[in-house]
């Protein structure tokens, strides 16, 4: 399903803290194509979460570019088709990048259905009936069609994360970003969430996934990035990265996790 149609170009992305004393991201350059399922792996503290969170500018990069569908979304302005400088509205771009968090971040004061329809109605101005119908359809797809009236507190972790995924899908994003989506789950619930992600990948969704699930990376990913100390150390197909690692760091890392 992968293409050569560049959806996100990351150019020399840097994120420094304490005036450069801490380099969470130290010059990452990579292209994400439409249809890619890109899995980012690496030891903790390697900057992979920062990388992911920078893609929709939840984390403001210190330097570098993120060119999303032709527009550099790290800048305050952009140049439109007529060559005019326009003010960049990051919210418009974020709508097109769904994000799934480690701790689900469902809105606890709203029911599942309200969680689903809030952003489509408020941000896109979708009618309630239309949003509800769409939400019901998506909830059924992840096996939660009967839980619309429940509150997040009444759901299991796996159910919450499935809701979080379809909540992001409500905005019809061009790309889905997953920030360790199964790390906070009890082991028996990991499978149900991965299953939803696999189905999403089979449907052709562009995905960037930060995860410790090497099985998922092998099976579903078409590209694997290995990050360490804020740098992109190695990149390749799952076969290349897992079976023929080049750099020492990666060999070390694989020895520990496989």
């Amino acid at each position: 399903m992968a293409t050569n149609d560049k959806l996100i170009q990351v150019v020399d992305l840097k994120k420094h803290y304490n005036k450069g004393a801490i380099k969470a991201l130290d010059g990452v350059t990579v292209d994400i194509n439409r249809g890619d399922v890109m899995v980012v792996v690496g030891p903790s503290g390697s900057g992979k979460s920062t990388f992911l969170r920078s893609l929709n500018v939840l984390e403001e990069p210190t330097d570098g570019q993120i060119i999303f569908d032709g527009v550099d979304i790290t800048k305050k302005t952009y140049t439109d088709e007529n060559g005019k400088q326009q003010k960049l509205n990051i919210n418009l771009h974020r709508q097109r990048m769904g994000m799934v968090f480690q701790h689900f971040n469902l809105f606890p004061h709203k029911t599942i259905m309200e969680n689903m329809i809030l952003a489509p109605m408020q941000v896109k101005g979708m009618k309630k009936a239309e949003a509800t119908e769409k939400a019901q359809h998506l909830l059924e797809r992840v096996g939660l069609g009967d839980r619309g009236a429940a509150y997040p507190l009444q759901l299991s972790g796996g159910q919450k994360q499935r809701v979080a995924i379809v909540r992001a899908l409500m905005m019809e994003p061009d790309v889905m970003l997953f920030d360790e989506p199964t790390s906070a789950l009890d082991p028996e619930m990991v499978g149900e969430v991965l299953e939803v992600m696999k189905e999403l990948a089979r449907g052709g969704m562009t995905m960037v996934v930060v995860t410790h699930e090497m099985g998922f990376a092998r099976e579903v990913g078409n590209r694997v990035l290995f990050m360490d100390e804020g740098k992109l150390m190695e990149e390749g197909t799952p076969d290349e990265v897992f079976n023929h690692p080049q750099c020492e760091r990666l060999k070390d890392f694989l020895a520990k996790v496989l």
Binding site: F101, Q122, M171
Partner: protein
């Protein structure tokens, strides 16, 4: 009601006795009116403070340094100067030349009530702003991130996601602020508002019973505030249980 069976109870008590309440038959109605004024003043001033306090709290959390600074300065000034001074400045400064003569419900003469309520509200908003700020900051940052990642503006994220959760954190502290205000408002007596403290002082002056009226005032303040704070505590406990559900 001289001649009631209990009017003779205090007849031979000394004026400095703690429980000399012989003024009650004549001055009791003043205390009742005083309680009404005190409660009204406390509730009205805290309610008046809520909206400015929310604005101040949001300003404090703004990324803009100037906006943040203005709110910070306001809070610093009102928290670091005595309430009596603030009250006097508002009363003589702002309302000195402009004196509305309106009467509400037949007994609220607004020429002292409004300045006092405004001054208390200005003061209270500084404290309530800090309550709101803490309540907003207590909401998990992931909530804002989730809202923003769905394309909401920062104001939408605040209004639709963060504030509804913050309000719940803040309600007990807000109720506590009313309890505080019931006590603090006694200072308005100095400007002639006929609150509970005014009733006590006037009675003491008129009857030469120096202690009894104040004992009674203390008892009434206590009877209002202690049960109120216990109820708030109970509500707080229940809300915490609700969170763990």
């Amino acid at each position: 009601m001289p001649g009631s069976w209990w009017s003779s109870l205090f007849a031979d008590m000394s004026p400095t006795s703690f429980f000399n309440l012989s003024f009650l038959p004549k001055y009791g109605s003043m205390f009742i009116q005083g309680v009404e004024f005190t409660l009204l003043l406390a509730v009205v001033s805290v309610l008046l403070a809520v909206i400015p306090a929310l604005v101040l709290a949001l300003m404090r959390l703004s990324k803009n340094r100037v906006i943040k600074g203005i709110a910070g300065a306001y809070i610093a000034v009102f928290r670091s100067t005595p309430l009596l001074v603030q009250l006097s400045i508002v009363f003589f400064g702002i309302f000195g030349s402009f004196n509305p003569r309106i009467t509400l419900f037949g007994f609220l003469t607004l020429d002292t009530f409004i300045p006092c309520a405004v001054a208390l509200a200005l003061n209270s908003s500084a404290y309530v702003a800090e309550i709101f700020r803490a309540g907003i900051q207590a909401v998990d940052g992931g909530q804002t991130e989730a809202a923003r990642s769905l394309g909401m503006t920062s104001w939408q994220a605040m209004r639709l996601v963060v504030l509804p959760q913050a309000i719940k954190n803040v309600l007990p502290a807000l109720a506590n602020e009313i309890v505080t205000m019931v006590k603090e408002s006694s200072i308005c007596m100095t400007l002639g508002i006929m609150d509970l403290m005014f009733a006590a002082k006037t009675t003491a002056g008129a009857t030469w019973i120096t202690l009894g009226p104040y004992t009674l005032a203390a008892a009434i303040y206590f009877a209002i505030n202690y049960p109120a704070s216990k109820v708030i505590e109970a509500i707080e406990r229940r809300m915490r249980r609700g969170d763990k559900r």
